[in-house]
């Protein structure tokens, strides 16, 4: 059974803006799929439609074989936003255990799981800190731990590292791949960084704007596990170029996407 099946999804907003038109996409279990495109291509809207947080105007989405609304009610996915969206009044441990409380887990069971999650995201020792006592990168790791705490089969991520500096972002990229490998979840990841999409993904879905649609899908054939060295391989640069050209062909003016300039192309 596919992890996510999107069939003929379109979304128009009441103001007459067409955010998405005729999206078809199937994601298999264990895949890491990035949605990349310029602002206004509807990638975040598509992510929210998968999560049943926004209703599509047409088409259907199924998650683990269930309609998206049922999948949401049955806690089939965890979500991470660009802001960590931690509750200030809860400690790190209590933020992570929020979904477990809503699922009615007993206190000892919650405590045990929180302990596991805190060590998964390498925040042991910070359980009793409040969000404002953490750096942006640490807050986002808490947010990831919360999204994974109840072991959902699917992880939806909406530009989770977009607000972080490049060094923190690269380290969290590597950490995310380790977590993905350890948990075996399916990940759908929205980004507007080309190197990030190439480094993380098994497939990159390139979207183009006005109206939002899928321009092309690029399979990333770099071997797993990926490390810092992956970013320096010639194949990495080839794939980055391929994604960039697909974005340009899809009508995204170059420079609109946020990415570090590549100083040199390998021979």
């Amino acid at each position: 059974m596919s992890a996510v099946v999107i069939k003929g999804v379109s979304k128009s907003f009441p103001a007459g803006v067409t955010a998405l038109t005729d999206i078809d996409l199937t994601v298999e279990p264990g895949e890491f799929v990035s949605l990349i495109g310029p602002s206004g291509c509807g990638k975040s809207t598509l992510l929210r439609i998968i999560g049943d947080l926004v209703k599509p105007t047409a088409g259907s989405v199924s998650v683990s074989g269930k309609p998206s609304a049922q999948a949401r009610r049955e806690h089939e996915y965890g979500i991470v936003f660009q802001d960590a969206v931690l509750y200030d009044w809860r400690t790190v441990a209590k933020n992570i255990s929020l979904p477990l409380e809503l699922l009615g887990w007993s206190r000892p069971r919650r405590a045990a799981r929180v302990k596991d999650m805190v060590s998964l995201v390498e925040l042991s020792g910070f359980e009793n800190h409040h969000p404002w006592q953490l750096s942006g990168g640490m807050q986002q790791r808490v947010s990831i731990a919360r999204a994974l705490s109840f072991s959902p089969s699917l992880l939806l991520m909406d530009e989770p590292f977009g607000a972080l500096d490049e060094m923190t972002r690269e380290r969290l990229n590597a950490e995310l791949l380790r977590i993905w490998d350890e948990t075996g979840s399916t990940v759908i990841f929205v980004t507007h960084s080309i190197p990030e999409a190439v480094f993380l993904s098994t497939r990159v879905v390139v979207m183009s704007p006005r109206p939002g649609r899928i321009a092309t899908v690029i399979r990333i054939d770099q071997p797993q596990p990926r490390t810092a060295a992956t970013r320096e391989e010639p194949r990495f640069f080839e794939l980055v170029t391929q994604v960039r050209e697909a974005l340009a062909a899809g009508g995204a003016p170059l420079g609109e996407t946020q990415e570090p300039a590549l100083v040199e192309e390998p021979a």
Binding site: R48, G51, L53, R72, R73, E74, H75, Y77, G78, I79, F81, D83, V85, Y87, D88, W89, R90, T91, L98, P99, E101, L102, H129, H130, W132, Q133, L134, S135, G136, G137, M138, T168
Partner: protein, 274 residues
């Protein structure tokens, strides 16, 4: 990883010491102000009915400390009753308005209009309705004064929630009650306390002004009014000092409750002076 602000563990003794140090400049200003008052009254030979000397007020206060304390407690009970009533109702209405927006749209204009009425003007009416000697007549005035600031601040706290906070709860299929309990109500606490702190002062004003329009002889407002009518200005000032003391302590108590309830708030951040 960037710097992490650690809460500073400190012993109670050191905390009290630091708190005293924090207050030191304010205390110096207070002492200087009183000294200047005393000096000016003596230097310019200001008449007692205009402004008595602080030392005279202090000695009047000391002479009547027992009866003043009794009067203060009586009036404070009225203020506290009105505060509880008005704030409780304010919180309840804010919850209803936040839970059901059409209700807010329908009734908010009336709440705003009611707030524009000079509520003190209703004091004689309340005395008439509930009886001059019935403490409830003063509680009613204090309650009406407290209602609006508590309601409007709490409502703002309940509704000014980041949209992704709500989206996150939806992703967990959380119900309405759960969203209120886990997001909206905790989010409203700092705002609620802002309203409550304003309400402490208003409740004391409501009770005392209510008493100016009549009340039992051992109420603080009645005493202040009688003392000034009979020319005992120093005693009247001593009454005002007692009223202020209760007002300040009431405010401080609510501020302490706020600190205890919102320790998690970024404003609780402790900066190390060293």
């Amino acid at each position: 990883m960037s710097a992490i602000v650690q809460p500073v563990p400190r012993s109670l003794g050191r905390r009290v010491g630091r708190r005293a140090l924090d207050w030191f400049p304010a205390l110096v200003v207070f002492a200087l102000g009183i000294a200047a008052w005393q000096g000016l009254v003596v230097a310019f030979n200001v008449q007692e009915f205009l402004l008595p000397k602080p030392t005279a007020i202090a000695s009047a206060f000391w002479d009547q400390k027992h009866s003043l304390w009794g009067a203060g407690v009586y009036t404070f009970k009225e203020a506290l009753g009105g505060f509880a009533l008005g704030s409780g109702l304010g919180i309840l209405v804010a919850l209803l308005f936040a839970a059901w927006r059409p209700l807010g749209r329908t009734f908010m204009p009336y709440a705003v209009a009611a707030n524009a009425i000079p509520i003190i003007a209703l004091a004689p009416i309340m005395n008439d309705w509930f009886g001059l000697l019935n403490p409830f007549s003063k509680m009613a005035i204090a309650a009406v004064l407290c209602f609006f600031p508590v309601m409007i601040n709490t409502l703002r706290g309940l509704t000014s929630v980041h949209p992704s906070s709500i989206e996150l709860m939806h992703s967990y299929a959380a119900g309405r009650v759960s969203v209120f309990r886990r997001v909206r109500i905790p989010n409203s606490l700092p705002h609620l306390f802002t309203g409550l702190k304003v309400a402490t002062v208003l409740s004391m004003i409501g009770a005392i002004v209510g008493e100016y329009f009549g009340g039992p002889i051992d109420a603080l407002g009645v005493r202040i009014l009688n003392d000034s009518s009979y020319g005992n200005f120093t005693q009247a000032w001593a009454g005002i000092v007692m009223a202020s003391a209760f007002g300040i302590l009431f405010y401080a108590a609510v501020a302490a409750a706020e600190r205890a309830a919102t320790r998690w708030h970024p404003s609780a951040r402790v900066f190390q002076a060293e």
